[in-house]
Amino acid sequence: MRRNPLPALAVAVAGLCILLPVALLAVWSVAGRWPWPELWPESFSLRGFQELFASYNHTGALLLSSVGLSLTAAALATLVGAMTARALAFHSFPGKELVRFGALFPILVPGTVLAMGLHTVFLRLGLADTLAGVVVVHVITALPYTVSILTDVTQACGKNLEEQAAVLGASPARAFLHGTLPALAPGLLSAGSMAFAISYSQYFTTLLLGGGQVRTLSLVMVPYIQSGDRTLASLYALLFVGSALAVFAVLEGLIHLWTGGRKWN
């Protein structure tokens, strides 16, 4: 059969469109002078790095607190997602379809509506301009993804191991901990990665509900993109993408470690 070259070509074009801008940012991040209409910088400099890591910018602390905030939100979204998934997978109760739909609902609520509506509520609850408030809105935003990933995984894992353990005399908690949890772990970590990616990218929700009290990398980066300092903006962007990839790599590594070469789906 003759090979159709079209798919490979289409994927190559897509790959180029994805990678070219990233490469361009890498060049900008070390560009010294790069005036119009030069196609390549006239000089290179580390000004951006010096400014980014200058002590007054506290970039290290910002990075740590952003990752910490998003890992917290991801862990909570995964926990709530796993609990909801378990109820959906193993129990029948009135209004189950409503819960299934409700879990996807935050995807359909546009960002500004979510942020401004919650801001009004949080002002009353005393959660506006607090870290806790920002975590809550990030969890709500990530929840549809964790619930849908974990409902599939929970159903696929089934309850067999847990029931066998219970038959052999294990308490329900022990049966869950040693029976189902290990089988669920890879799914938990992939739901967690997705939730992390969503939380780490949040801009408007953090801006409005954090009220300037909660600073994240995603938030701090935007004025540089607006200001036109392309070198610093590029560095912040690369720092963002690089740190997100690093967290992802760690989570993927954990999945491998956990499953120890065993096959999982």
Binding site: H91, V99, A103, G111, V113, G117, Y203, V222
Partner: protein
């Protein structure tokens, strides 16, 4: 205990949903002009009416609708094509799928920066055209990004959402292709025919969901129009935030009316989609 178990498991979920519904309720009530704290106590539809009578607001509304619809439509079409191309790869499929996941990690704000360094009037593309003698200066390069037509926003959504659709649809399309699509080929259908008659129609539920997700996102997103939009007209979310933070607090119902409208359109679309899906599923059941 047995009966209480699902309730206990659902408790945190229900609490979060409660917050979400409360938030939307607040937004809707305020959009009807009821904020006693600011001395507004009369329920009215005036603020919604303003969306359709005030020239600035109507322009914002039309711009946002247009950008959201075009982004969702072109991303789903091109993303589905990319997905089909990925699945048809004989070698390097794993690597390509990994690459496609990268834009999902990249926030929209960084995508805006990509477009600025590539396609602004001093961007790389303009420089390349100048070097090639195709334009005579920066001013000759069309100002794509901050134009009132919303081209910059559209491009940003395309960069982010085409790979998203490909990734989102891949699971369903892959399994349909490996089973029923393969069967059609074995029965003598050409790969192209098998794709358009079997694989594509059966992947439609995932494709439709992707359309809906992107539409709702692009319709209510703030950062993309903030960074790539024109000064006039402003996209609806940007205009809404301006009204929300307006020093005169009595402007808040305008912001909430815009939010209410964004929400209603997204929900209406979701309902239509759910209805279509159910009808399709029922039709499928009859055939089986």
């Amino acid at each position: 205990m047995k009966r209480l178990a699902p309730l206990l498991l659902l408790l945190p979920f229900l609490a979060l949903m409660g917050l979400l519904l409360w938030a939307m309720g607040c937004a809707l009530v305020q959009s009807l002009g009821y904020i006693p704290a600011f001395g507004l106590t009369e329920l009215t539809l005036d603020y919604y009416q303003a969306l359709f009578t005030d020239g600035t607001l109507t322009a914002s509304l039309m711009l946002s609708l247009k950008v959201a619809f075009l982004s969702a439509l072109s991303s789903t079409v091109l993303g589905t094509a990319l997905c089909a191309a990925l699945l048809a790869l004989r070698r390097g499929r794993r690597g390509a799928l990994l690459l496609v996941r990268l834009p999902i990690l990249v926030p929209h704000t960084v995508t805006a920066l990509f477009l600025i360094v590539l396609l602004s009037q001093s961007g790389l593309v303009a420089r390349a055209l100048y070097a090639g003698g195709l334009i005579d200066g920066q001013e000759d390069f069309p100002s794509l990004l901050f134009s009132s037509g919303g081209m910059g926003m559209l491009l940003a959504y395309l960069w982010k959402e085409i790979p998203f659709v490909a990734y989102f649809v891949a699971a369903l399309m892959g399994s349909v292709r490996d089973t029923l699509g393969e069967a059609a080929c074995n029965l003598g259908a050409s790969p192209v025919r098998a794709f358009f008659h079997i694989t594509l129609p059966l992947s439609l539920p995932a494709i439709g969901s992707a359309f809906l997700i992107i539409f709702a996102y692009a319709f209510g997103s703030y950062e993309v129009p903030l960074l790539l939009g024109s000064t006039l007209p402003k996209a609806l979310p940007v205009q809404a935030y301006l009204e929300y933070t307006h020093p005169d607090l009595r402007h808040r119902p305008y912001a909430m009316a815009m939010n209410g409208f964004i929400l209603l359109v997204s929900l209406l679309l979701a309902l239509v989609y759910a209805w279509l899906l159910r009808r399709k599923l029922n039709a499928g059941r009859v055939v089986q």
